[in-house]
């Protein structure tokens, strides 16, 4: 599930409403009807989005109603998921969804910032285009490809080299050790987060690069004129100017990370357990739905539980979006 976050709407050059040229005004008569049709079509398109969104939410809620009624609040808090005894709880998958998305952002945001900073400030002009296109191509790779690449390349790498080494060294330390304990399956929360980070990286990097480029040269030149270093310019001029859009780009990435399905399914280990170790297997809401949906029969409690999970994912995405809006409320007003 991806949210549409307005990117740099506040930075776009504004067209004044009365700015149409006299040549267009002179066309006369038929324009009025055309205007009305066009305005109506645009309005319908806008309302269609609202209707679709509402219909999906309502449909998911109705579908999940059986599960909500049967388990009540414990559907959200319980960590039990037993298809044989028909006991369903979303606790583990909610935890997995949130933790992998947060870790992915933790890995991706600094790198994305580095890419954007390099492309707009440091890179020679001839290199900017190829690297920029490469980033956009990364975003176009289907998630199943990331999943297979993760499973056949990253997972063996993790299980043979990285995880055994980490488990034998850091894993033996007190306190921190618990984060890196367990058998080296290669799959798990950490691997899933790394794959997710690579997947959301192009979205965040491309957004950051685009908005960094919208900063008027005059501002930057003035700062340089005052003797600021490149880092100081980015820190004190570029970032404050583009803050809203940067956070918007990060939210776009977070939205993708929360709902990502196929790639995560390949590498997360798919176990309904919460493990203290980052190497431990887990699951996410989207991966559980993808794996269990095929064999869930019509009208079963399991199908209802899966639709209920979908509803919860919707709610989480909504909370994330609302929170980002709230965090930015002052700058949006300005």
């Amino acid at each position: 599930m991806q949210q549409a976050v307005p990117i740099s709407a506040d930075n776009a050059p504004r067209q004044e409403p009365g700015g149409a040229s006299p040549a267009i005004l002179r066309r006369g008569g038929s324009g009025a009807l055309g205007d009305a049709i066009f305005a109506g079509a645009c309005k319908a398109a806008g309302i269609l989005v609202l209707l679709l969104l509402g219909a999906i939410i309502v449909q998911l809620f109705i579908g999940g109603l059986d599960a909500f009624r049967t388990f009540g609040l414990s559907f959200v808090t319980s960590t039990e998921w037993d298809p044989v005894k028909e006991v369903f709880g979303a606790g583990v998958s909610i935890y997995g969804t949130v933790i992998t998305a947060i870790l992915a952002l933790l890995f991706a945001v600094p790198v994305a910032f580095g890419i954007a900073f390099y492309l707009t400030e440091l890179a020679p002009a001839w290199l900017r285009r190829p690297v920029g296109i490469a980033i956009e191509l990364l975003a176009a790779i289907p998630s199943i490809i990331y999943g297979m690449w993760g499973f056949f390349i990253i997972v063996p790498l993790m299980s043979r080299y990285i995880q055994p080494a980490v488990i034998d060294t850091i894993g033996t330390l007190p306190l921190v050790g618990d984060l890196f304990a367990g058998p080296p399956f290669g799959t798990g929360i950490l691997t899933a987060s790394i794959i997710l980070a690579i997947m959301v990286l192009p979205f965040i990097a491309a957004t950051m690069r685009d908005v960094f480029e919208t900063v008027p040269a005059v501002f930057k030149e003035s700062a340089y004129g005052l003797g600021a270093t490149q880092w100081e310019v980015v820190r004190n001029v570029v970032l404050p100017y583009t803050r809203v859009s940067v956070v918007g780009g990060i939210m776009l990435g977070l939205g993708r990370a929360l709902g990502e399905t196929m790639a995560v399914t390949f590498v997360i280990g798919n176990a309904n357990r919460i493990s203290a170790s980052l190497f431990g297997p887990g699951n996410t809401i989207a991966s559980v739905i993808a794996l269990e949906f095929g064999e869930a029969t019509m009208g079963s409690l399991k199908l209802s539980a899966l639709l209920g999970l979908g509803f919860i994912l919707f709610v989480i995405s909504f909370i994330v979006l609302a929170a980002s809006r709230w965090l930015l409320r002052s700058s949006l007003k300005a």
Binding site: W81, D82, F185, F266, G269, N270, N272, L291, G294, E295
Partner: protein
């Protein structure tokens, strides 16, 4: 031209006898949907029958659960399912269930230095591994059975199918049959609550994870293990003998099974017999007992009639197990219960 005249004659026959003759005409299309495990075989059978009988099969491998739903809604000519449907559901939706072919599930391990068919395990030990009670390969209970093998001290990493699947159904049926604790704590289903290990998607996911992780154990369809040269183990069967995962031992299990169960829902798990491999399963076909189109229903039966008679070589070539002959006979007899307007569609004239 002789063939042209024959064709014209055939067209005349079709025109005269209408519906019942239409089924025997060229290029009848039948559609089926369901289980993914036998899909490669149905595909191959379809190619062969197209040449032999003119019946063209369009099979969609969408999973057993979806296959059951589709045939209940009558959107396909036949459904396919790895696990048998409940008797009352068959009754309610007027469906006939019969086995098409058999497959087996085998444990695979990743233990450097231990060859295929070498390690000896019992169902109880495997159940305890998947319950998290046995955690090291040099556990005394495993060592006792394998005195001639030097077992490593690796931790055991159990791997299971993360997606809901018929393979898991058969695997846990076996573990539940031999271990009371497993039956009580986990039970039988297409997906179950595992207390240890990691899940992977599909046969290829389980095999890939086992290959990656030293000390891993997993389970896959035998066809998949055979084609990818995975290391399988021996298992102790009901007679107390250790048997390897070979075609002869699968056949032995099929021959020793009790096929008299209603709706052919025979359990081939942990069967009697000195050489029986303990984890074998039939995969089923679901046919409407009241088909709307007699021609199509007849074509489906003709298809499987052909498969029973001439399809065994293709099946064994793909590492599936053909049904015993007397079972095929019983299935043909059961087809006579499919009627249109009170008249049996089978045997075809």
């Amino acid at each position: 031209m002789v063939s042209n005249r024959l064709l014209a004659l055939a067209a005349g026959v079709v025109a005269t006898f209408g519906l019942s003759a239409a089924a025997s005409a060229q290029n009848t299309n039948i559609t089926g949907a369901g289980a993914s495990f036998p899909a490669p075989l149905y595909q191959k059978w379809g190619e062969a029958t197209k040449a032999a009988t003119g019946i063209q099969l369009n099979y969609q491998s969408i999973g057993s659960g979806a296959g059951q739903t589709q045939i209940r809604n009558r959107t396909v000519d036949f459904g396919a399912s790895d696990s048998p449907m409940k008797a009352e559901d068959l009754e309610q939706h007027k469906l006939l269930q019969f086995p098409a072919v058999m497959g087996s599930v085998v444990p695979i391990v990743n233990l450097p230095g231990i060859e295929n068919h070498k390690l000896r395990l019992t169902g109880e030990i495997v159940a305890d591994i998947y319950l998290g009670k046995i955690t090291k390969w040099n556990d005394p209970r495993i060592a006792e059975l394998n005195r001639d093998v030097s077992l490593p001290s690796f931790a055991i990493a159990p791997v299971y199918r993360a997606d809901s699947s018929g393979t898991t159904y058969v695997w846990v049926s076996y573990l539940s049959a031999v271990s009371e604790t497993f039956n009580k704590d986990v039970g039988v289903g297409n997906s179950v609550r595992w207390s240890t290990g990691t899940g992977a998607r599909g046969n290829e996911g389980v095999a890939g994870t086992v290959r990656n992780v030293r000390g891993a154990i997993g389970y896959v369809e035998h066809a998949y293990a055979a084609q990818n040269n995975l290391t399988t183990t021996q298992l102790r069967n009901k007679a107390g003998n250790f048997v390897s995962a070979t075609a002869e031992n699968f056949q032995a299990a099929a021959a020793n099974a009790d096929w008299s169960a209603p709706n052919f829902a025979a359990s081939l798990v942990d069967t009697h017999g000195a050489n029986s491999w303990p984890i074998v399963t039939p995969t089923f076909i679901l046919l409407p007992k009241n088909p709307q189109d007699a021609g199509k229903a007849q074509a489906v039966m003709k298809f499987f009639d052909w498969a029973y008679r001439d399809g065994d070589a293709i099946a064994t070539g793909l590492d599936y197990i053909p049904l015993p002959e007397q079972v095929e006979g019983a299935v043909r007899a059961a087809w006579s219960s499919i009627t249109v307007d009170g008249k049996a569609v089978w045997p075809a004239r």
